[in-house]
């Protein structure tokens, strides 16, 4: 049974890759993921804004109340040299590289053009095997047109690609009017892979406190349909590698994505729920299914049910919607 696949230029022993999550904050957990069979790992995201905000906040509060009263002209000891950059993240890259043999894909979420470039370069220098650019900026202003947003994404990629030689993937949300067009632009700009999709932050309302509260909802297998459909479409249109994320909980889910045209399947929620060992379960399920159905390799099934390879390509299009509606009636 050959589960090999390739992604971002790496030959991977299987297509199951833990995606960006808190699991990668702990070296031991990453070791467990590797032992369970993960073929690569995407690190938790480095948020430039958060780093800058934290240090600015410290500066602000250290300064609060100073030079106001004769007896207490300051409240904190001097001499602190704060780490203002992504040193902790870079250190974790180095630690993971030391601890495991699978490729380490760093994940960067920048907030300034300087930050994208500088942090990307430093991530490469720290030893990351590849870099995933995590673009996450849901529009909330009427001035932000889709053109501006897409131009910005392409520009970020262009700037980063100039700075680094390691493979670069982009992780996007699905709220684009013309995702295939954007994906094509990114391919032309040099992206090495697309990771689809970002999970959109959806806060909740606390009815007792009448407050908006952050909430994290883990994906369910139902969520698989969205990436599944887009893998089938984009794998037909593009040459770049494709990673599918959201809703990957079982071996069957991975197989479906492979058939739709994905090169790897990212999983996060199922690992948070069942632990790192769940990778092994997914792989076992894949093997069992492939044995039962006499598949020899993942390569064999890749794209076998993409838009171009299915008998009814319209199943992935608007007509599918129509069919569902008529069935419902």
């Amino acid at each position: 049974m050959n589960l090999d696949t390739s992604y971002l230029g790496f030959n991977l022993k299987n297509p199951v890759v833990p995606s960006a999550s808190p699991l990668s904050r702990d070296v031991d957990t990453v070791k467990k993921l590797e032992d369970a069979g993960a073929s690569a790992i995407v690190m938790y995201s480095l948020f430039e804004e958060q780093i800058r905000h934290e240090v600015e906040e410290i500066d602000f509060f250290m300064d609060q109340g100073t030079d106001s009263f004769a007896e207490s002209q300051s409240f904190f000891p001097g001499g602190h040299d704060f780490i203002r950059g992504p040193e902790a993240y870079l250190k974790q890259i180095r630690a993971l590289k030391e601890a495991v043999d699978i490729p380490i894909i760093a994940s960067l979420n920048g907030s300034t053009s300087g930050g994208w470039i500088d942090y990307a370069r430093r991530i490469q220098e720290a030893g990351a095997d590849a870099l995933e650019l995590n673009i996450y900026n849901p529009p909330s202003k009427v001035e932000e047109t889709s053109t501006l947003i897409e131009d910005n994404i392409v520009n970020i990629l262009r700037q980063v690609k100039v700075q680094v030689t390691i493979p670069v993937s982009m992780k996007l949300g699905h709220y684009f009017s013309a995702l295939p067009a954007l994906a094509k632009r990114l391919e032309e700009t040099g992206v090495d892979a697309l990771a689809l999709f970002n999970r959109f932050y959806q806060p909740d309302i606390d009815l007792e406190k009448l407050e908006v509260v952050p909430s994290v909802h883990l994906s369910t297998p139902d969520n698989l349909r969205m990436p599944l459909r887009w893998m089938a479409v984009l794998s037909t249109l593009l040459k770049v590698d494709l990673g599918a994320t959201t809703g990957v909980h079982s071996g069957q889910d991975v197989i479906k994505l492979m058939m739709a045209g994905a090169d790897v399947a990212f999983t996060c929620s199922s690992l948070l729920k069942f632990g790192p060992e769940h990778v092994k379960t997914i792989l076992n399920e894949m093997e069992t299914w492939m044995e039962e159905h006499e598949y020899e390799s993942v390569e064999q099934m890749k794209g076998s049910m993409s838009m171009k390879n299915v008998s009814d390509p319209e199943a992935f299009m608007r007509s599918n919607y129509m069919k569902v509606l008529s069935k419902y009636k």
């Binding site: 004769a70 409240f75 780490i83």
Partner: protein, 1184 residues
């Protein structure tokens, strides 16, 4: 080689040398010396080495007594050791100083000389502390200015090693310790050249060493002690020579020449002043002025005060001298004269031969508590000497209209050179004015050949405080250690100051006046108070305005206007060419913010550029129309004392008050903050009666007592102002004719918004609106002033009608602690206010020195208040270290006098009537109703006693009020309770006497600026715990519970307000010692203060702070005395602590250590809860 110049203050200069030349420093924070230890600690924390290549150990102790003990021990063990202190701190070191000197142990104590507390505490400077220590056997070496501090610190260190006599090196607190000057820094090579290593080795050789055992500290008997004490004489005789030799060596190495007594002036002077420390620079400067005018005057600057070398002193005087004035910056009531005066008289008497006619010597006092000492006063003294009979034992700088000691002087006399830039900057503490000015000094000092001087004056309030920066720049060395009296540049960074203070009083004719104005350039004139307009016209000021807040807003700077106002200063002051100045500001910005990212640099650059575009000169022709002179500073309704004295201090004219304005014993009236309408909040809470559920939580958390509630007869609303609000009261306790009002004292509010966070309800149609919401203060000021006055006219709620042991009920009671100067959103004052509401009309407070004594007792106005009957808390502060004992003393007196009064009541039963006597003696005062009944009985007793004339009746009249229950409260911070005052606290707890101890636990020394205490938690960063405290917080409550008969409660209002109120009620009702440890969020935690109460909750939810009450009375009921009031931790410790800079900063400076300490602290939190849980759930032990 050109030496490095630095812009530093006196404390940094002293610390620099101490750190370079010592191996150990043991310290304890005290204003104004604290920053010396902090500098040393900072340098050691970053690995800076001394001149021998090792990093000194800097250790914070529990008190100055402890620091001195540690210094003594370290010296005996052979380390080069130093310490830094002032005032009471030096006094606490005296016992060890005798020992250190008696054992001829070389060391230097660096002292920023500060007033010793007498009738009042003062943090400011004079020589009363060093003069108190002058009999210890230490040598005393004085510095007059910042450069001398660095030089003399080294000379003292070198000389002590040779002389073996220990040194106090001192300089004036604040005036020198905190004055920023451009000075030349000594290099390591220079320091090494002055210090003789052989003497260091000799010191080590004398150490206690088991390989060569010796014994020190013997007990001696009458047969030998005397002789042995005299054995040290040769060392003291040799010391002046050694110091002079060291000064000569220093001159050779460095080039600056000093003598034990430096004479300045005409060689044939007939009038000579003798002075020491910063006053010497003023005298020197003034003498030079008069010499240039051909006068025969001079001055002797005393440097080595002890051992006093008569020979060197006499030699320093010109033989021509006829009259001498000795100026002492201290007061010794009852002495023949002040110490230096007596020394000089004695010296002249012992060596009279130098003079053909013995000079006439007078002594005088100046500059107590940093009172200004100016050239005008020096001239006044010289003029006094011209008189045939100059006044002896005079005072200068004040108007003593009681014993007429003061001499007159011409207040307008000034000697400043016209080429000296003299700028005054009025700012708010929070607007960054001082920081910007320190930066300007650096820019000018570093970037030009000019000399620079900066001195910063702060007011007494911790919130909304005003700062005045005094900056001088000039091509010649600046020797003017006094405030600027005539300024050629005045900047007012807050428009509101124009109404309160005479900002332009010191402006020279033709000076430049820069105003931050919310009004546009073409409107500002009409908004100025008439007085200000007249001054501008009369002085022909060049008047510039800028709307700095707006520039800050549009350039993304928020509310920090520092860079903007600094740019204005450089643009129009002419100190530097404008373009050059702007470039230098940008360079400074790059240097300061470069590390923080290009975006912040650019934001500041933009602010600079926009400032230049928005700075306008105002063209004025006539006085014009518009605003008047501003209202009187206090209401006409204020008591006469407040109008005559307090109001003057409030308006910055306290210096003009004569001696007769004051009581002789330091007694002041209470309830004066109500007259100081500070109007410091830009936004204040406004009440929405329709949404409010009347829970009164907003009032409970209000740190300044500005939110009040009353329920009253609706008929009283007849004359209510138009905007006065009321609504139907909730609950069954009220009558149908009654209404409820929540009123905000808008003019007293600091705008902290803690109340908004505490409000639990939201508008159903607009959830951002609560039952109280922050609104613009300016538009509400007038109507709310009327509403507040009307509210005060309504009767207070009958205390008997409310449930005092509930949050809602307690907040219907009148606070007798109001409008303090504590920080906005202070975490301590809500507890203090609560105590005053519950027990204020019968409480007597002992307050440890610290934040609570400053916001509780610092002039001009004080917050402890009175009710309509004139009753209220009576309050005093003794010291920092003795507060528990001080309050215990209250209890001793009250108990004794209750006993005596009861004895007298029994004795006088026949006269006062058996029924009354029995009722008084058997009164049950366990509840407030019983206390009120007893108060009526005692009033009746007084009436009867008035008619009696027996000795017993006279005795009883003076103490009968003790028959009504008093409530003794001992309060202070964790620095007091956990550290310096712990011994006394422990003793008082063990006494079993009925006192209530409130520890306002901020987990750090807040008042002195964030030094670690034993209450500081594991992992938290504080001064002297820069790498995060590595030990657990002391469990004070557990220690107290061990006694078994102490009521102990740990509370956090933000976590459980109901438990807090219950704990206070139970503690006070317990007839024995009670200890309440109250979590108090603090600005020193580096938090968003608005969320202070939320942090309290998280502290409890994480298990860091456990809520409990331990009531010994429960044992009688067969119950476990400990009741745990908080649940098992529900959140991780990190979710609490990483909202606070004191913890979070470590994650950015030492992430690995932060993680390690977090792990340890998390384990400790879990274990702590388990321990308390087990104790609280253990079977009750009978008879415990």
């Amino acid at each position: 080689m050109k030496r490095k110049t630095v812009m530093i203050d006196g404390n940094e200069a002293a610390a620099y040398i101490a750190h370079k030349t010592n191996e150990v420093c043991a310290i304890y924070p005290i204003t104004p010396s604290s920053s010396m230890g902090e500098w040393a600690d900072t340098w050691s924390a970053v690995g800076q080495k001394n001149i021998w290549g090792t990093v000194p150990d800097i250790v914070e102790m529990q008190s100055e007594g402890g620091a001195a003990g540690a210094v003594h021990g370290a010296l005996q063990a052979g380390a080069l050791t130093s310490t830094f202190t002032a005032s009471q701190g030096l006094l606490l070191m005296i016992p060890n100083m005798f020992k250190i000197a008696g054992e001829l142990t070389p060391t230097v104590f660096h002292v920023s000389a500060r007033t010793v507390a007498t009738h009042a505490l003062s943090i400011f400077g004079d020589h009363s502390d060093v003069m108190t220590a002058r009999s210890t056997g230490f040598a005393f070496l004085a510095s007059s200015n910042v450069q001398e501090v660095m030089d003399m610190a080294l000379i003292a260190q070198a000389a002590t090693l040779e002389a073996r006599v220990p040194f106090v090196h001192f300089f004036d607190g604040f005036r020198t310790s905190s004055e920023v000057q451009k000075i030349t820094q000594l290099t390591d090579n220079e320091i090494k050249a002055v210090i003789d290593d052989e003497l260091v080795f000799a010191h080590r050789q004398r150490r206690l060493n088991p390989n060569q055992p010796v014994l020190r500290g013997t007990a001696q008997n009458p047969d030998v002690f005397f002789q042995a004490r005299e054995a040290c004489n040769p060392y003291y005789l040799a010391t002046p020579g050694i110091v002079q030799k060291t000064m000569d060596k220093f001159a050779k190495v460095v080039g600056r020449k000093y003598n034990l007594f430096d004479y300045v002036g005409d060689p044939e002077a007939e009038k000579v002043l003798i002075v020491m420390a910063s006053g010497a620079d003023t005298v020197d400067e003034t003498v030079e002025f008069f010499i240039n005018q051909g006068e025969k005057v001079g001055a002797v600057i005393i440097r080595l005060y002890r051992p006093f070398s008569i020979e060197h002193f006499i030699d320093s005087l010109p033989v021509t001298v006829k009259k001498i004035a000795v100026l002492d910056r201290t007061k010794e009531p009852g002495a023949i004269g002040e110490p230096m005066y007596q020394d000089v008289v004695t010296a002249l008497t012992e060596q009279p031969d130098r003079f053909s006619v013995m000079p006439k010597v007078v002594g005088g006092r100046y500059g107590l508590s940093s009172k200004e000492f100016t050239p005008a006063m020096v001239k006044g003294i010289l003029d006094e000497l011209d008189k045939e009979k100059p006044k002896n034992h005079f005072t200068v700088g004040i108007n003593d209209d009681v014993t007429n000691t003061s001499i007159d002087y011409d207040h307008a006399f000034s000697i400043h050179g016209e080429d000296v830039f003299r700028g005054m900057f009025y700012g708010l503490g929070a607007d960054g004015t001082v920081g910007a000015n320190k930066n300007s000094i650096k820019i000018i000092g570093d970037g030009t050949d000019n000399f620079a001087q900066g001195y910063f004056v702060y007011d007494s309030k911790k919130s909304g405080s005003m700062t005045i920066s005094h900056l001088r720049f000039g091509s010649d060395k600046i020797k003017s250690p006094y405030l600027i009296g005539s300024a050629n540049f005045v900047a007012c960074h807050q428009f509101v100051f124009l109404e309160i203070y005479d900002v332009l009083k010191s402006a020279d004719p033709g000076a430049t006046f820069l105003l931050n104005s919310p009004y546009p350039v073409d409107e500002v004139w009409d908004h100025l108070p008439g007085r200000v307009r007249k001054q501008i016209i009369a002085k022909k000021l060049k008047f510039y305005v800028i709307d700095a807040l707006n520039v800050a807003k549009v350039t993304g700077m928020g509310v920090r206007i520092n860079t903007i106002m600094q740019t204005c200063f450089f643009a129009i002051s002419g100190v530097l060419p404008k373009d050059e100045a702007i470039n230098k500001i940008k360079e400074a910005i790059k240097k300061t913010y470069g590390k923080k990212g290009e975006e912040i640099v650019q934001k500041n650059f933009k602010a600079v550029d926009e400032t230049v575009n928005n700075l306008h000169q105002v063209k004025y022709l006539s006085a014009g129309k518009g605003a008047g002179n501003g209202a009187g500073i206090v209401s006409d309704k204020a008591p006469e004392f407040v109008k005559q004295v307090t109001a003057k201090i409030m308006s910055g004219q306290g210096d003009e008050l004569p001696v007769s304005a004051f009581t002789a014993d330091g007694t002041w009236p209470t309830a004066t903050t109500q007259w100081e309408k500070r109007n410091i909040a830009s936004e204040v809470p406004a009440w929405e009666p329709d949404i409010c559920i009347q829970c009164n939580k907003c009032a409970l958390v209000c740190p300044h007592g500005v939110i009040r509630m009353k329920v009253y007869d609706k008929a009283l609303l007849e004359n209510a102002p138009e905007t006065f609000k009321s609504t139907k009261p909730r609950g069954r306790d009220w009558e149908p004719n009654e209404v409820y009002t929540l009123q905000v004292a808008a003019e007293d509010c600091t705008g902290c918004a803690l109340c908004i966070e505490a409000c639990p309800v939201k508008d159903k149609t607009d959830t951002k609106c609560k039952a109280i919401n922050m609104v613009d203060q300016l538009s509400l000021r007038e109507p709310e002033r009327a509403n507040w006055d009307f509210f005060l006219s309504l009767p207070e709620v009958d205390r008997g009608r409310v449930k005092q042991n509930t949050v809602k009920g307690s907040q219907m009671l009148q606070p007798l602690f109001e409008f303090s100067g504590a920080c906005a959103a202070c975490g301590e004052t809500p507890y203090v206010k609560l105590v005053s509401q519950l027990f204020g009309d019968r409480m007597i407070v002992a307050n440890a020195t610290g934040c609570s004594s400053i916001y509780g007792g610092n002039l001009p106005t004080t917050p402890w208040a009175k009710n309509a009957e004139g009753r209220g808390p009576t309050w005093s502060n003794s010291l920092f270290e003795d507060n528990a004992e001080f309050g215990f003393g209250y209890r001793l007196t009250i108990d004794r006098q209750i006993q005596f009064a009861q004895e007298l009541v029994r004795k006088l039963t026949g006269d006062i009537g058996a029924e009354l006597a029995v009722a008084i003696l058997n009164a049950d005062q366990s509840e407030e109703a019983g206390i009120f009944e007893q108060r009526d009985r005692v009033a009746e007793l007084f009436e009867k006693l008035e008619r009696l004339d027996s000795p017993a009746a006279k005795q009883l009249r003076t103490i009968a009020d003790n028959l009504v229950k008093k409530s003794v409260w001992i309060m202070g911070g964790d620095g007091w309770a956990y550290d310096i005052g712990f011994g006394g606290l422990d003793h008082v707890l063990a006494s079993g006497r009925n006192v209530n101890i409130l520890v306002l636990d901020t987990e750090v020394y807040s008042n002195t600026g964030g030094q670690a205490s034993k209450a500081t938690p594991l992992g938290s960063v504080a001064k002297f715990a820069a790498a995060g405290k590595s030990s657990n917080k002391k469990d004070l409550g557990m220690m107290a519970m061990n006694y078994g008969n102490v009521y102990v409660a740990q509370v956090a209002m933000g976590a459980s307000d109901a438990q807090t109120v219950r704990a206070f009620m139970e503690a006070e009702s317990y007839n024995g010692p009670s200890l309440i440890i109250a979590y108090s969020h603090c600005i020193a935690h580096g938090i968003n203060m608005v969320l202070g109460m939320n942090q309290q909750k998280l502290a409890v939810d994480s298990g860091h702070w456990i809520l409990y009450r331990y009531d010994p009375r429960l044992a009688d009921e067969g119950k476990n005395q400990l009741k745990l009031d908080s649940k098992k931790p529900t959140i991780d410790l990190k979710d609490y602590i990483y909202n606070e800079t004191r913890y979070k900063m470590l994650t950015k400076s030492m992430p690995d250590r932060a993680e390690k300490l977090l792990g340890e602290a998390q384990k400790a939190a879990v274990k702590r809860y388990e321990t308390y849980y087990q104790l609280a759930n253990a079977p009750a032990k009978a008879g415990d």
